[in-house]
């Protein structure tokens, strides 16, 4: 229980009522307590200690902000019905519960409510037991009396706890009762309690034997409750997964179950997967939007020029328009081809890896880029150039794209540098230009598809995205060292 201030007036009234009633029931026993003998004092101390220790052995079934505790100590109270006087039982209960919960650092309001609640419940149980004439544990009638008394205890206890939960959670009362009532719990504690009392009276030295079935029951019970929790968590996950597949909304995430168990680990992993899917869908939407945007320009040009072509054009007009339309169609074809390349690049399976001699690769790139760079290319190779495992065609394409980008943004007399070096466990390829650098705002997005803003708008915006795709497919990365107004170095690193 937490959040006293946030609870409704009825919830608060209920809690205060239970505490006051519990206090009154305790006060009624004070005259008897004052008349205790030394033996009763000893029994009180022993039971209070046993109850306090027993508070640590409880199973909790979480229900939203509340937890319903299944406590073995109730078996002790069943035994105590037979073995000690009512005043000893009530006092031991009060002290035992309070000490046990203080030791577990429960909130004062929870301790006070729980103490009040058990005092009330055990007072009702004592009343029922005495109605049967307080029979001894050695008579079957005593067992019947204990069963009735503990049923009354359980009823009062559950009604009080469930009433508080339903007042705080605003849940229908019957629904909460259904969730938390434990018939098994009652039967189990009753049987153990009767056995304890029987052994105590007949053969006390056999009492330790009871520890074995107790521990086994503890383990079985705990496992059973956990499986209920996991089952509920699985149902919840299945429902959310069904919602996602029906709505197609991958921004939804699974609620993490409260318990630190396998179900929670599974939900966490599924959420990571959903996050990746979400990001992939967003990338795809962006890509489609950018692609359609990019194709609109050449289509607009073709459409506009054909629409405005004179019905009886001169030979020169016709020639100009045909050339222009073919040129724009080529531009569209290049965009489509690059998009296709980009889509394939992302997939490592599309690579044809082989042993590549770095020097041969660089010589090949330089030869292919000769026209592009028009004698301005300056190549610096690593002193001990070696080999790498890569798709030579793709890597060549990536480096040529970098050189093409540099050529487009470098004054016609400035040199372009290609540098190859070995950095730790990677090969690093750098292409440096001496243009205006990349505008600050575009540094982050320069390797994304269709980033062509500002002064660097020369290609169709897919060249660097393809470089990045090729690097990623090789398990490598790309980056930019920008020097605004004096040039930029684009680099690509792949594992050696």
């Amino acid at each position: 229980m937490s959040g006293w201030r946030s609870w409704s007036t009825s919830a608060r009234a209920l809690i205060v009522g239970v505490i006051v009633a519990g206090l009154a029931a305790t006060m009624a026993r004070v005259p008897q307590i004052q008349a205790w003998t030394g033996k009763e004092l000893g029994l009180f101390a022993g039971f209070a200690l046993a109850i306090a220790v027993g508070e640590f052995f409880q199973f909790e079934l979480p229900y939203r902000t509340e937890k319903t505790a299944y406590v073995v100590t109730e078996a002790l109270w069943t035994a105590a019905l037979f073995l000690v006087s009512p005043s000893v039982l009530v006092a031991a209960l009060l002290v035992g519960v309070a000490v046990g919960q203080v030791a577990q650092k429960d909130s004062p309001i929870k301790i006070a409510f729980n103490a009040g609640q058990v005092i009330l419940a055990i007072s009702v149980a004592l009343l029922v037991y005495q109605t049967f004439g307080a029979p001894a544990v050695t008579e079957p009638q005593g067992w019947l009396a204990a069963a009735a008394a503990m049923a009354a205890y359980q009823a009062v206890n559950n009604v009080l706890v469930d009433a508080v939960i339903s007042a705080i959670e605003h849940q229908p009362f019957w629904q909460v009762v259904f969730v938390t009532t434990g018939i098994l719990h009652w039967v189990g504690n009753l049987a153990i309690g009767i056995l304890v009392a029987l052994l105590w009276v007949t053969l006390p030295q056999a009492l330790p034997l009871l520890a074995v079935p107790l521990v086994l029951t503890f383990l079985a019970y705990r496992g059973w409750l956990r499986s209920i929790e996991e089952r509920d968590a699985m149902h919840e996950m299945a429902r959310t997964a069904e919602d996602i597949s029906r709505s197609g909304d991958v921004t939804t995430r699974l609620n993490l179950p409260p318990a630190q168990d396998d179900a929670r680990a599974l939900a966490t992993r599924l959420n990571v997967m959903l996050g990746r899917l979400d990001a992939a869908f967003q990338r795809e939407r962006l890509f489609i939007r950018e692609t359609s945007h990019e194709l609109r320009t050449p289509i607009t040009i073709c459409r506009g020029h054909l629409e405005l072509l004179d019905p009886v054009p001169t030979a020169a007009e016709l020639q100009d328009t045909v050339e222009l339309v073919i040129d724009e169609l080529d531009r569209m074809a290049r965009i489509v081809e690059d998009m296709n390349t980009l889509a394939r690049m992302e997939d490592p399976a599309s690579l044809r890896r082989e042993d590549v001699d770095v020097d041969v690769l660089i010589a090949d790139v330089a030869a292919k880029a000769a026209t592009l760079t028009d004698g301005r290319l300056q190549v610096t190779s690593a002193p001990a150039a070696g080999r790498l495992r890569a798709d030579p065609q793709r890597l060549t394409q990536a480096l040529i794209n970098l050189l093409k980008n540099a050529a487009q943004h470098t004054p016609s007399d400035a040199k372009i540098e290609l540098l190859v070096s070995a950095v730790d466990d990677r090969w690093r390829f750098e292409v440096t230009d001496h243009g205006d650098g990349v505008p600050k705002a575009e540094e982050e997005s320069v390797f994304l598809p269709f980033c062509t803003g500002g002064s660097r708008a020369a290609g169709n915006g897919l060249g660097l995205a393809i470089v990045s795709g090729i690097a990623r497919a090789h398990g490598g990365t790309t980056g930019l060292d920008n020097r605004p107004s004096s040039g930029a170095t684009f680099w690509l690193e792949v594992p050696r």
Partner: protein
């Protein structure tokens, strides 16, 4: 009408100007936002309508319009853009854009937009 076309793609600007001139409009063409802003601010009210592309290389078309509006330029505007982003359209509306054409569009659509801005001119163009 006197039309200022702001369009960075020369080939688009070329046919826009051709189509507008065929309908007896007077056309000025600029290719970058800074130049458009300069023309709008110094020559205002020199043009009857602004035909504005949004994806300009230097200053975004909507930013050009925002700055011009801040300086009191109340010229009617027809946006011609390849962008279909929902946000652009809403921003354009907030800046008092009269029409929003997504590329590619038939020339007649642009001409009809101009006619709606000046119904009298359509009569004149048809009768001439």
């Amino acid at each position: 009408m006197k039309v200022l076309v702001v369009e960075d793609e020369e080939r688009i600007a070329a046919f826009l100007a051709k189509g507008l001139r065929q309908r007896s409009h007077t056309v000025d063409v600029v290719g970058i936002g800074a130049e458009a802003l300069q023309v709008l601010l110094t020559a205002y009210p020199g043009h009857d309508v602004l035909v504005l592309d949004l994806g300009l290389p230097d200053i975004d078309g909507l930013e050009v319009l925002r700055r011009a509006r801040e300086q009191g330029v109340q010229v009617p505007v027809i946006v011609v853009t390849a962008s279909t982003g929902g946000d652009d359209r809403a921003q354009a509306r907030a800046l008092g854009v009269d029409d929003y054409l997504v590329k590619p569009f038939p020339m007649n659509q642009l001409l009809a937009s101009l006619d709606r801005l000046d119904p009298g001119l359509k009569e004149a163009a048809v009768s001439s």
